[in-house]
Amino acid sequence: MNSASADPEAAFRELYQATYDDLLCFVERRVHLAVADDVVAEVFVTAWRRFADVPARHDDARAWLFTVAHNMLRNRHRSDNRQQSLALRILREPATPSAGEADGVAARVDLIRAWQRLSPDDQQVLTLTVFEDLTGPQAARVLGISRAAFSLRLLRARRRLRHHLQPHPRNPAVPTAHPTPATEIGTSR
């Protein structure tokens, strides 16, 4: 941690306890559940080894862990040639209450269908802000892009999701919907 800490192990344990579930959700949204534990272990080992580099503020430290995880996952995806085919799962943090029932099961089904029509890039930016609760600058850093570029992507992703949620029939002029498999959306263990 950047702040002086008399007991690094205690500070790391505190960070671990505070961020483990968030990080596990972050990873589970993006990879097969069977390998999520491995990725999380890798990230925390890296954090311990580079503990002096981990930001002192909790939310910045959390974003730092996400960035490390994102880079590891990118490597995995690249070697697996799966980067373009994975869709992000919609998982909710344990501590995050549902904000209303969204008019029940039918609305949820509509939402998942709309989500499936988004490109992985659109899903990524929405997930970083909606589920991972990162600020724009933090999310931009995770993706390695500028704040302005992230804001633009987010704006477009929200626009496309809204469009897909509208109850009109298919419109071929829809702004760039990329069909994705998204077979595991909405699943957990």
Partner: protein, 272 residues
């Protein structure tokens, strides 16, 4: 309609797991050694896993090289925060003796098999390159199925730095393409360093890599080894962002392909 709330409402809730025994056991294993002694890379990750865990298949990591005559590419490196620690490091590579190269390659291949479960199908098809800088050496191994880059620490210990399956073919790279197959960071007792390796097109005779300081106020030049269409190098580099690193390919005819983002190349190769 608040789109964020709609999304959250539709999400599948998952239970908290940090208090469960596997998560707590992982934490205890990680902090069993102090941070400065925590093993780097795959060895550390393996140590963090339960002994019974099955090794997962690789992620993208590394590179390779072939035999024969070496050209030299230029790497421009910025402020090297750990530079002073690597007193023996040189910007110009030295060749490895053939016996050293073969020995390191054998150890690297064995480590790839152990770490990633990728045996070498045909040892005769192996292509190896290496270089030495001060007390440290690196070696890359290319096989038809995978590439690997290994790093020899100053104490002689082999560090498997990176591994990548399914490299692109030379035909895909054409005349001026480039695939960056490895770009990992390692930490030795002397500090952090960056390794880089890749495969270039048939007309590429040199690779200039520019690494700018975060403030963009200065940079330094390192020379990478280029042999038979493959390049590799390593240099001290503080852990952190290297988004400004770029590559310039020097071509046989005297031309260049400039300002190729290393991060972009690591994401996807430049093919013809």
């Amino acid at each position: 309609m608040n789109i964020d709330e709609v999304l959250r409402a539709a999400a599948e809730p998952v239970p908290a797991r940090v208090a469960q025994p596997p998560a707590q056991a992982l934490l205890d294993r990680i902090v069993a050694a102090p941070p400065q002694h925590a093993p780097a890379d795959t060895a550390a990750r393996r140590a963090a896993r339960p002994a019974t865990r099955i090794l997962t298949r690789p992620r993208a990591v590394f590179a390779a090289l072939a035999a024969a005559a070496a050209a030299v590419a230029a790497l421009t490196v910025p402020h090297l925060g750990d530079r002073a620690a690597y007193a023996s490091w040189t910007p110009q590579p030295s060749p490895l003796a053939a016996a050293d190269l073969d020995g390191l390659a054998d150890r690297c291949v064995a480590q790839v098999n152990t770490e990633y479960g990728y045996p070498e199908a045909d040892p005769a098809g192996r292509v190896v390159h290496g270089e030495k800088r001060g007390d440290y050496a690196s070696v890359s191994v290319v096989t038809p199925a995978w590439t690997a880059l290994c790093f020899r620490d100053h104490d002689g210990a082999m560090r498997d730095a990176s591994f990548m399956a399914d490299p692109v073919t030379a035909a895909a790279l054409g005349a001026t393409g480039v695939e960056m197959q490895s770009w990992p960071q390692l930490r030795t007792q002397e500090g952090d360093c960056r390794l880089i390796a890749g495969h270039v097109g048939s007309q590429v005779v040199g690779v200039d890599i520019t690494v700018r300081a975060a403030a963009g106020d200065h940079s330094r030049t390192v020379h990478a080894t280029v042999e038979d269409g493959y390049f590799l190098a390593w240099y001290p580099e503080p852990a952190g962002d290297t988004d400004t690193t770029t590559l310039t390919l020097r071509l046989a005819g005297g031309g260049t392909v400039a300002d190729l983002s290393a991060r972009d190349l690591y994401e996807a190769p430049r093919t013809n």
